[in-house]
């Protein structure tokens, strides 16, 4: 069966498709979250040097990964929107920003809570922490710039520039712990090395990462649906939705 993917680049048909997908992703998020937290708090063993305090890793690492990953996805959509003038791409970028910003804040916040008992400080200006803070500013900059421009098409273009420029920060965050000496330790899990974590700990963490993915997809689809309705409010299909009382 050939699926006509281009059909879904029209906001009207994507609106209904997204509506059908949200419950699936939301359910997966809840199930994975419960599994991940259960493994993280009850099954994963105590750590040999950090004791129970390391368990914040089950929130911190997924949040930090998502903060970087969502930024790349957001910049890709914004770039597509800029290059091809596709409306839905730019709406996706706008929908991703708040979730990305939330995960960035969560990573910084949990990191700070973790830093105090383990390192002895809430915050240091090392390369990893500073570049992650810049990521938060990029998300906030993207959102405020878009909010400041009334014409949505111009707002999309201006936002896309910030999003694309900010992409250079992502490899800086990721490799900061290798390129410079930092207080933050190196990566425990990376593509080219065996993970430096006990397998149960790793499993709990990865399940939490999948839970964050599912959550992000569900929330972003929900948000993009609202953006579609707002921006397409002048069209007949939105008017028909309202008449039917679905919207």
């Amino acid at each position: 069966m050939a699926i006509n993917w281009f059909k879904y680049s029209s906001p009207a048909s994507f609106y209904s498709l997204a509506g059908k997908m949200i419950p699936l992703f939301a359910a997966a998020a809840v199930i994975l979250l419960i599994m991940g937290l259960y493994i993280g708090f009850f099954i994963a063993p105590t750590d040999f040097q950090q004791g129970e305090a390391y368990r914040i890793i089950f929130i911190h690492v997924p949040a930090a990964w998502m903060s970087m990953f969502l930024y790349v996805v957001m910049a890709c959509w914004a770039g597509f929107g800029l290059a091809f003038n596709t409306r839905l791409s730019s709406m996706m970028a706008t929908a991703i920003a708040p979730t990305g910003a939330m995960f960035t804040f969560l990573a910084l916040w949990t990191g700070s809570l973790w830093g105090k008992p383990m390192w002895g400080t809430w915050w240091v200006w090392d390369a990893r922490l500073t570049s992650e803070l810049i990521l938060l500013f990029l998300y906030i900059g993207f959102m405020s710039l878009q909010a400041a421009i009334d014409d949505p098409r111009r707002a999309d273009k201006a936002g896309a520039i910030i999003a694309l420029v900010g992409v250079v920060n992502i490899p800086i965050i990721y490799f900061s712990v290798q390129w410079w000496n930092t207080l933050h330790q190196g990566a425990s899990v990376s593509v080219n090395q065996a993970p430096a974590m006990a397998s149960t700990m790793l499993m709990g963490m990865l399940i939490m990462v999948f839970a964050s993915w599912m959550y992000s997809i569900a929330v972003i689809l929900k948000r993009v649906r609202i953006i579609i309705l707002e921006r397409e409010s002048h069209t007949t299909w939105v008017a028909e939705l309202q008449k039917d009382g679905v919207a």
Partner: protein, 149 residues
């Protein structure tokens, strides 16, 4: 080339140019981005003189000495090729241990002792249960013993 492909090519080129620019800038600032200096750098006088800076390395095994009546503690920081003696008054982080990572901020005194105002623990990226850590340590000891035989 279609106009939209041209636009895409320009965006890709723009991001690439920006990437190259940031690599150059970061490379130029390399020395300002370090969070701490190693004892070897201190020995080579690469550190700012008369100013506060951070040193990082491992706490030398057997070097920690505490004063009985105060919270002053003496230890040394090593990167295995050079060692710097450190004095610090205050509360140490829980993870501060001999043989483990540490980052101390302070100034070099005239007598070559580093007077720290802040001591932070730097832990590694390994996470495992205590039993696994003990097993690893036993294995390392056994290997050492068999090597020295």
């Amino acid at each position: 080339m279609k106009p939209r492909h041209k636009k895409l090519a320009m965006i890709v080129a723009g991001v690439a140019a920006l990437g190259v620019a940031s690599v150059l800038v970061l490379d130029a600032f390399q020395s300002n981005l370090v969070f701490f200096f190693t004892p070897t750098q201190v020995a080579a006088k690469e550190v700012p003189i008369g100013k506060s800076f951070r040193i990082g390395g491992l706490v030398t095994e057997g070097s920690v000495q505490r004063e009985d009546t105060s919270t002053t503690v003496y230890f040394s920081v090593t990167d295995t090729s050079h060692t710097i003696p450190v004095v610090y008054t205050g509360i140490l982080p829980d993870l501060f241990k001999e043989g483990k990572g540490v980052v101390a901020q302070g100034k070099m005194s005239d007598r070559g002792i580093f007077k720290a105002d802040e001591v932070l623990a730097k832990h590694d990226e390994n996470y495992m249960p205590p039993e696994a850590a003990e097993a690893l340590e036993r294995a390392a000891k056994a290997q050492k013993a068999s090597l020295s035989e």
